[in-house]
Symmetry: C2
């Protein structure tokens, strides 16, 4: 029999999880500090509203904001003496420390980090397929019982997540490097645009658009995330700060000094960036593949992009990736079509023969 | 009659410009330190190989690497006493200073920065439409004659560029903020991934993929660009470095201090990033529009993306932008379809009725 699940907090993650688990046959009850939010989640199919008559849950999922997650986990551990409790906060050491300091039974607590959600928030944005194929990191402590770990793994898998297991410090160090520090770098670069002149901002090309896309993220949520992972974020940021200092010193010797060694510093920073970038896994978590890119001019008219992709499909070529670029004041865009290298030349020929203009 | 153009340097930019101007009816001659490169550019339709018998050019375009551009401009100004000379380096103050220090006639020199090219290089990648609709900044000095400025403007327009005019310091400050500092930030963030464990790197999501896309850029070229714009890059980097220092201090007070004021610092950095990001112009250089986004699950099978865009076109809705996201280990991608807010709901309904699964 599927376990009884209690979800505490019916925002985007809690509600989506309720929908996913209800569909998977779990008996889900919901609670939230806001009765309106709980009722909305119920209406969206996330489960029943929790009541005093409910049987004790087998698993409790705490989907509260990161800064209160530990406190709510400890409360739920105390309230349900035989339940396994997990949370979904994107930082894990701080939550574990809080649960420990509040005397929660750590054998029954296993952290979770479903990597889904992004900028949107609230139950209205909830979807039962939010976790489908997304990474879901299960984060046991040394004290977690094997049964508790297995229970949380099974729940994550039932919700559609692609499960991996990491220790709390390893998890926090990983997300500091792959998520929290990139967020700060994006925000800091975007912040420089505030006081730029209009003609200067108008020179923004695709590079800065990509670098600053996540700079649109919510300050309140990110303050909680960064504060909750302060130690690990600080460690990575200190490396960035130090290397940035070396770059500034190198630029100084170019403008006011003899310039000796400056170019080596600049080349090293960009080369290290090459090496780090090459480590990011490709599509489907596979090793990165050097896709070939065919760049096509797409007129800015309804249906033109669709016609292009129809022609790509007609050519029997599978699109591995697609990147659209809009330039300044132009009546068309550039579509970068990524395909396996072996078929790139044939695709280019096919598209040219169908009247598409390819671009260097 | 169209002017006679002499192009010095037949890499990607020089060769592409030769093709574009030849098509526009200009009489183009080509020269490069490498006779093989010159011959290749000629064979690609970029113009004739320059010879001692050529009549004097009206315009010389120096398409040499940034670190030698000033020197070559000065040589060409001396060799052709009535020609207007421009260059295409992506930094402008350093080139002007070099031309001045070498005694070049500054009335006939006007800098250019065609914003095209990106990672690819060499004549083999050249296309006559490389500049179509791309920003081309014309960068006169105080000494440039109006005739020289007009000549370079006309050439940029004939090549297909969207022309704007800026002073050398304004240009260099603008590209430092919108191009050179984003490149360094991307490289520094990517550099942190070098020594991360495989499971940690596997957590990389779309955010860091976007932030580090340009970290794959060429170290040699970027060393020249950064060194050539050292002063302006340093000014923007110093702001980033200082704000990063504040973030680190704030994180320290959270781990080892009383935490007072720390959250305000973090929230301010992310909020400023919001404000800067909002200034980036939308498509066509127009004011940013808050597009509505419809997120669609696209199975990873040939032709599925094309079918989606076909359905979008069928619905009579114009796609404003498209962003594809690949997650970890999933058999499909998410397509973020950006459209005008007024049509988003109708599009969502249409797509749902055609069997598409919408997301979040």
């Amino acid at each position: 029999m599927n376990p009884r699940v209690r979800i505490v907090g019916t925002g985007l993650i809690g509600t989506s999880l309720g929908i996913a688990l209800s569909r998977a046959g779990y008996a889900v009850v919901l609670t939230d500090p806001s009765p309106t939010a709980t009722a909305l989640a119920r209406d969206l199919g996330a489960g029943a509203v929790a009541s005093a008559d409910d049987p004790a849950p087998d698993v409790v999922v705490v989907a509260a904001p990161p800064d209160v997650a530990g406190q709510v986990v400890a409360q739920e551990l105390g309230r349900w003496p035989s339940a396994v409790v997990t949370d979904v906060a994107s930082v894990k050491v701080a939550v574990l420390d809080q649960v420990r300091s509040l005397g929660g039974d750590l054998t029954r607590y296993v952290g979770s980090h479903p990597m889904a959600g992004r900028e949107r928030s609230g139950a209205v944005a909830a979807r039962g397929d939010l976790f489908d194929g997304r990474a879901w990191v299960v984060v046991p402590s040394d004290e977690s019982s094997p049964f508790a770990v297995e229970t949380v793994r099974a729940l994550a898998a039932a919700a559609g997540g692609t499960v991996s297991v990491m220790s709390p410090p390893d998890h926090d160090a990983a997300v500091a490097a792959v998520s929290h520090v990139p967020q700060l770098a994006s925000s800091l670069v975007a912040g420089r645009l505030r006081e730029l002149s209009d003609p200067a901002v108008a020179l923004a090309g695709q590079g800065i658009r990509d670098v600053t896309r996540i700079a649109a993220s919510d300050p309140q949520l990110w303050t909680q995330i960064l504060a909750g992972n302060a130690g690990a974020v600080r460690a990575v940021l200190a490396e960035v700060h130090s290397e940035l200092g070396e770059v500034i010193a190198a630029l100084d010797t170019l403008t006011d000094g003899d310039g000796v060694g400056a170019r080596e510093v600049l080349a090293r920073v960009v080369s290290r960036g090459n090496a780090g970038h090459a480590r990011i896994p490709g599509k489907h978590g596979a090793a990165p593949t050097a896709y070939a890119t065919v760049v096509v001019l797409v007129p800015d008219e309804p249906g033109e992009l669709a016609r292009l992709l129809h022609d790509v499909g007609d050519a029997g070529v599978n699109l591995e990736d697609l990147h659209l670029e809009h330039g300044l004041g132009q009546p068309f865009g550039l579509a970068e079509v990524s395909v396996l290298p072996a078929v790139a030349e044939r695709l280019a020929d096919e598209l040219t023969s169908r009247g598409w203009r390819l671009h260097g």
